[in-house]
């Protein structure tokens, strides 16, 4: 590995594409050797790696040390698509996926996650010879972006011009195109609005922790369900930042949050019953107006987003909330298997009020205050702008408004299977998200049972924002179905809005979380919870995120806690 200067200016680039710095990630040693040889024959500079984690470390150590990443889709320590996401978010390098499996759905997934190409094994020399195109293309776009940034006025124009377009774009939820497509669309819009012919594509902005904090703050202020790139940009008040920068960052943020949310949902489903101090009254009060399942495409990503933002240690605001969340989350996690089987329905029966979470910033604090978990400090959840989470406590009204297919309520055994399957996907961060949600949900009946229930509910909410409180009512299986449907809906919305959340996986999670309301599947392979840790008051405090993970889970971690922390940092750095 040679630490070369970036861009086209370094001497090694005289004979571009010779010397192209390629990072190859593949768990198959045979392929790794072959690819290395092939790439060397192309006169590229090759670095090989058999673990995704190692690859991320390498990339982070030298942010500018590589031009392109080639990664296999199936790897033991991390899904290739996840790696792809991270690289895209943190390093913004072109990533090529490879696999022996050429199924269209897989390829599509790759593209959705941002892969600039998808190669099928066995890979031929000529395919590798051409990979420099992707590097070149990206550089050109960056140059154009930077140039377009020079004029502040043009930025202003862009902003106003794009506002409507983008906001609608994001909120409509029907934008299933990849980030690049959106970029192109934006550019077209740009051309229309501005007489300036230069395309205002996304500039290569380095999202430092500070910048990201501003971003998150702005998002929180606006309200997750109302967020739009222009509003965020205005609030952030960073002159050199364009709306496109914010837009693309927002997209990535959502993706990230949705992933976290999914994980945390799974985790939260194990919420213990430790914290049941919140009076039901409070929880009711904190809830906003009830609404039928409110599926705003943005909601889901937003909620996940804010959460992950808070997870980043660099963000003080988030940290605080996170600390609280952790405490909360841990509590549920500690829930012993038996305890979860509490009949939540009973507690909910008493409450037939609909509790909807209005996660706008305003209500966050109040919601937090009566979270079922004993959080004494008002949690400042930057992600509180999570779109409303409808929490219908009524048993009767099952609103299958979303019209998505109702998933049959899986039996307990199924949950277990689901849990086991999804365990790989679970990330500690999600727990935090979930705990947050739980808090907002508030206890329906200030009983021990309640926390669990709300937790499970929050889990669902977390993942899908849609949460129709049918789940909480838990009276009928239909409720669960609604949840599931909601989740699915949320998933779809997520997908629709460009979030690359695999519907299938989410469904799995949903089912898991979902069922948890009724009967907490205790066999989540995900956790070997250590109850003691959850009760640990220290956890209630602002526990460092990564520590929390360590304490919390025994399941397969995609990242080391430290790495996770780093990832968080890196994601928005």
């Amino acid at each position: 590995m040679v630490l070369a200067e970036s861009g086209f200016s370094s001497p090694r680039n005289d004979a571009f594409p010779a010397g192209l710095r390629v990072l190859v990630v593949d768990d198959d040693p045979t392929w790794l050797k072959i690819l290395e040889k092939m790439l060397k024959k192309c006169s590229y500079e090759v670095t090989t790696c058999c673990l995704a984690r190692e690859a991320l470390n390498l990339l982070r150590e030298r942010k500018d040390g590589y031009d392109i990443v080639i990664s296999d889709v199936n790897m033991p320590d991390m899904d290739g698509f996840k790696l792809l996401e991270h690289v895209g978010l943190e390093m913004d390098l072109p990533v090529i996926m490879m696999s022996v499996d050429g199924e269209t759905s897989r390829v599509m997934k790759g593209v959705q996650h941002g892969a600039c190409d998808y190669l099928l094994k066995p890979i031929r020399m000529k395919e590798l010879r051409n990979i420099w195109q992707h590097v070149f293309r990206k550089k050109i776009h960056e140059v154009r972006d930077i140039e377009s940034l020079e004029g502040f006025e043009s930025i202003q124009m862009t902003r106003s011009g794009y506002d409507l377009f983008d906001d609608g774009h994001f909120l409509s939820g029907d934008d299933t195109t990849s980030g690049r497509k959106r970029k192109d669309a934006d550019n077209k819009h740009d051309d229309r609005e501005l007489s300036d012919p230069s395309s205002t594509k996304k500039a290569r902005v380095v999202w430092t922790v500070d910048l990201h904090q501003k971003f998150v703050k702005a998002v929180n202020q606006i309200g997750f369900d109302k967020v739009g790139p222009k509003k965020i940009l205005d609030l952030m008040n960073v002159p050199w930042l364009t709306r496109e920068n914010v837009a693309s960052h927002l997209q990535k943020y959502r993706l990230y949050l949705s992933r976290l949310q999914k994980e945390s949902d799974i985790k939260n489903s194990f919420i213990g019953m430790k914290h049941s101090d919140l009076p039901s009254k409070d929880s009711t009060a904190s809830f906003g107006p009830h609404k039928a399942m409110n599926m705003i495409p943005d909601d889901v990503p937003n909620s996940t987003y804010s959460f992950s933002a808070s997870n980043s240690q660099a963000q003080n605001v988030d940290l605080k909330g996170q600390g609280d969340l952790k405490g909360i989350t841990s509590a549920p996690m500690a829930e012993p298997k038996g305890a979860l089987s509490v009949d939540i329905r009973d507690s909910h029966e008493a409450k037939s009020t609909q509790m909807s979470f209005d996660h706008s910033l305003g209500s966050v604090d109040s919601a937090v205050s009566f979270a079922s978990f004993n959080s004494t400090t008002p949690l400042q959840y930057p992600w509180t702008e999570i779109p409303e989470i409808q929490f219908k406590q009524e048993c009767e009204s099952l609103h299958l408004e979303n019209g998505f297919s109702q998933l049959p309520l899986p039996g307990p055994s199924m949950i277990e299977n689901e849990a086991n399957r999804s365990r790989i996907e679970v990330k500690p961060l999600l727990d935090d998200c979930r705990s947050n949600f739980v808090e907002h949900l508030g206890p329906v009946g200030a009983e021990d049972l309640f926390p669990i229930q709300s937790k499970s509910q929050s889990l669902n909410n977390q993942v899908f924002d849609l949460i129709s409180a049918t789940k909480s009512s838990m009276k009928t299986q239909d409720v669960g179905l609604n949840y599931l449907a909601d989740s699915e809906f949320a998933l779809r919305n997520l997908n629709a809005s460009g979030v690359g959340v695999p519907l299938a996986t989410l469904s799995e999670d949903l089912q898991i979380c979902w069922l948890q309301g009724d009967c907490y599947p205790m066999n989540y392979g995900l956790q070997d919870l250590e109850c003691s840790t959850y009760d640990n008051p220290a956890l209630m405090a602002e526990t460092p995120f990564h520590l929390y993970d360590v304490l919390r889970f025994d399941h397969e971690h995609l990242f080391d806690p430290a790495e996770y922390y780093a990832i968080d940092q890196g994601l928005f750095a």
Partner: protein, 153 residues
């Protein structure tokens, strides 16, 4: 040299037969082309890696399928998928074909079918290993006799 020519001829014929019988496909030829002065033993090294990986994966599958209390088909499938990828690296066509059938049985959670495929895959792998070893031996003989390895298109 007559000896060299003879050996080279043998090599070519043997290579051709391996291709014909489906043991190897074009990928193997590509690997041979990649071999150069910088890495004169490239193909042998790659083959060794492949054999190692193969054995490991086959063992994983066997263990997983042996579980009396319930076979984790996902795990088996994951191993088969890996083997499929690995076999594609060296051009082991027959192994790869068995993997494809193997995966369907995994999906159907058919233990019997899986066990049969495991047997087949093990068989194909052993066959291929023997044949490649023969081929490499021929190669070495040619080199020892002062000749060069002909590239079989």
């Amino acid at each position: 040299m007559d000896v060299v020519n003879q050996l080279q001829r043998q090599f070519i014929d043997y290579s051709a037969s391996l291709h014909r019988e489906g043991f190897l496909d074009d990928q193997f030829t590509q690997l041979q082309k990649l071999q150069d002065d910088n890495s004169p033993d490239f193909v042998v090294e790659v083959a060794s890696l492949f054999f190692e990986d193969c054995e490991k994966l086959i063992n994983n599958m066997a263990r997983a399928l042996e579980q009396q209390q319930g076979v984790d088909f996902k795990q088996v499938d994951a191993s088969v998928h890996q083997l499929k990828g690995s076999s594609s690296s060296i051009g082991a066509m027959r192994v790869k074909d068995v993997c494809i059938a193997f995966r369907s049985f995994c999906e159907a959670q058919n233990r019997e079918g899986c066990l049969r495929c495991l047997q087949q895959v093990t068989h194909e792998y052993s066959l291929l290993k023997n044949k490649l070893q023969t081929l490499f031996r021929l190669q070495q003989q040619i080199l020892a006799a002062g000749g060069s390895i002909p590239v079989v298109e």
